[in-house]
Symmetry: C2
DNA sequence: GTCTATATACGGATAGAC
DNA sequence: GTCTATCCGTATATAGAC
């Protein structure tokens, strides 16, 4: 039966639990998730969770760390990259992010909720601030302001705009889909459109007037 | 019978409970909130909650209904108003909304989270869709598109932009504040700036190119 | 490693004194 | 109306058989 199966081909029990946990935690958040839901989702016994991860919280910590690293990847793309222009960075960020979010639309609400619930525990692990400070992105932004190519605003305003225009639709999707009478496919079409629109809009917004 | 007795000068016990519940629910969400937290926040005994509201869920429903009505008020301002122009509507919406959110920054994350957790139960109560459909806002938007004043995009894209640029910073504030090394006052200053910037940006974004 | 059964803790709800 | 004490269901965690 299960113990005699090969580990090589299908997912190990530990991986099954992690995958199930990721789905449920992301969908419902830490507090609303019951370990029973995870066990059921994984098609496994409840006791296995404790055998592999000792506690709900430890399991969550592992999932959360991995999730945030994934979420951060887009940001790192946006911030680093020596060779590309500011505009190119924005395009790449928006486009790749929308791809991720179409596949995992629950991600933003989950991350922002959990960070709010536990800022100290989770913020440190991101190391986002250090990354931003010496980033090529910030250098290019300041240069563009100085040379009068874009309007002079706080860099954070600029970042809020890019991230907000990209991420917000997924946070508000239940309301927005209802508002526009859209099913998921139709909604995703609009998101695909935004891959081109958002970078264009950002460019227009930041024009010197 | 609860609620029928005194209309006193200072807050009644029932109001104290509701105020405490509003704060805690909004801060932590339904699942993570314990009735004991609410009782403590109100400086009252746990048993009073049940005396006045029968259950955690019934108390939550009352709070949630009131909160959504408040949240919707800004939207209604945006959508209705026969006399004002499209631009004016946007300015009023952004400005009044940012005022609300500076006072109650937890509101957006709370509302979006709870709607996601229980869309059927909560969406109907908003009645947002009906409101939008016959709104002056939508008429004016379509007119502006037809007369070539703004670029032709799905109205929902337009709404996402306005709401996203206004609301997103408050959803991401823990991360954003950390990113920019800002305390709450400094962050709020940026939000005050956005009262003027967002309407301007919207105007620029939507230009015909 | 995986299961069943059970211990333990926690949170929501209630009974009853005042 | 408000309190103390307590009940009871549910969720997490663990023991022990296989």
């Amino acid at each position: 039966m299960p113990g005699t199966k090969t580990k090589a081909i299908d997912a190990t029990t530990e991986e099954k639990i992690k995958e199930a946990a990721r789905r449920i935690f992301t969908r419902k958040g830490y507090s609303a998730t019951r370990t029973r839901d995870i066990a059921e989702e994984a098609g496994l016994n409840l006791a296995l969770l404790n055998y592999y991860f000792r506690s709900k919280e430890k399991l969550f910590d592992i999932i959360m760390l991995e999730t945030m690293q994934q979420f951060m990847q887009g940001v790192r793309v946006l911030l680093s990259a020596e060779s590309s222009s500011l505009e190119e960075k924005i395009s790449v960020f928006v486009s790749s992010y929308i791809d991720v979010l179409i596949k995992q639309p629950d991600l933003p609400l989950f991350i922002f909720s959990e960070i709010k619930a536990n800022p100290k525990k989770l913020m440190a692990k991101m190391g986002l601030k250090e990354f931003l400070m010496n980033s090529q992105f910030l250098v290019q932004f300041r240069e563009a302001v100085k040379t009068n190519k874009i309007a002079p605003v706080h860099p954070l305003q600029f970042i809020m705009n890019i991230v907000g225009l990209t991420v917000f639709p997924f946070i508000g999707s239940p309301i927005l889909q209802n508002l526009g009478d859209l099913n998921t496919d139709e909604f995703n079409k609009l998101m695909e459109e935004r891959k081109k629109l958002v970078p264009l809009w950002i460019k227009l917004m930041m024009m010197k007037t």
